[in-house]
Symmetry: C2
Subunit: 205 residues, 2 copies
């Protein structure tokens, strides 16, 4: 069974224990002949896939009413198997979603590492530093690189911790954030687990 | 007595109750003939002023050792009259500095409104919203504009409040942030008050 999570930059495929990526811009989906269950936040790719019968959009089987209209389908699917957790998807944007007792409480969006670094650099060359994920967040900064790292990370970390829930990390930068949340569960399969649950519910597998 | 605080975009003059600005790129400082006490984070302007005898750089009278090497002179001067406060200077960057019992504890740097908005927009057009400073930070977001506003503002606000100190707001966007910190003191003269204190200490006035 081939599953695919399509983002703005890549197709992320999963087939049992096999896991691989293709670039969204250059990959030709018609080269795949087997039935492929997908979700896509990428509108361009979505339109292309409309014409291919073996690509089945799982979004049509998702109950959206528990969430909100403009919420990315990837966030919704990632939450499908969660009953109590803060889910952090650390990609180009960082989406944070809170589920408590099986109910979606809401979430927020924070800039991803690359975007935030660029943001500081755009303000001034004097703020052009990489973030230090090992900075001591227990005390305020007394040099510029720490002042940037503290500014980006400390308020975010405290906000997450204030939810008092288990933390699940997924997405390309998950392992960086694991340094800040050592007890968090790192789960790069979260979205595929969610997709399988939705397929089961819909009688597709 | 003419004072001037020079930033990356403007010369900010103060003369008693008079207050005016000139663009850093186009203003010609040699048109000022009277003695002018200034600080500057703008290196280009600083070099220009070196040749003008009536422009006196107050940075040379500042005791830097209580702070840190790369800390902007404007931040240091703004703190000169503070004994207990969190000082938020909301400009293109937002600098936050904490002084407790007259001792500088450290600070951090957070992106300003314009920079952060651009940051979200650069990640995706789907995140191109203005921040809502009246968003209810008491509950997590259930729509995209609130998810952005919450992400930018909620962690920041909690971080500031966690210091348990009076809050002083200054800088171009101070009045926006006043909505989030209704008890804060808004003080657009903070830096000039600091400059005067340094001048008194140095016997310049």
């Amino acid at each position: 069974m081939l599953l695919c999570d399509i983002g703005n930059t890549s197709y992320h495929f999963n087939e049992g224990t096999k896991d691989f990526k293709e670039f969204a811009d250059s990959f030709e989906p018609q080269t795949i002949k087997q039935p492929t269950y997908y979700i896509s936040v990428n509108q361009n790719v979505k339109e292309k896939l409309n014409d291919l019968d073996n690509w089945i959009d799982l979004e049509t089987f998702v109950e959206r009413e528990d969430y909100y209209a403009t919420m990315g389908i990837d966030r919704i699917v990632a939450l499908a198997t969660i009953t109590d957790a803060v889910v952090i998807d650390a990609g180009s944007a960082i989406t944070v979603d809170v589920v408590r007792n099986g109910v979606f409480e809401g979430g927020f969006i924070y800039p991803g590492i690359k975007a935030m670094q660029e943001c500081y650099r755009n303000i001034s060359n004097a703020l052009d530093y990489s973030f230090n994920f090992e900075v001591d967040l227990g005390k305020m900064a007394k040099n510029s690189p720490d002042a940037i790292s503290y500014g980006y990370l400390k308020p975010f970390v405290d906000e997450i911790k204030s939810k008092n829930l288990p933390i699940i990390l997924t997405g390309g930068d998950a392992s960086e954030f694991k340094k800040l949340f050592p007890d968090a569960r790192l789960d790069q399969e979260l979205i595929f687990t969610g997709m399988k649950k939705i397929m089961k519910k819909a009688g597709l597998c």
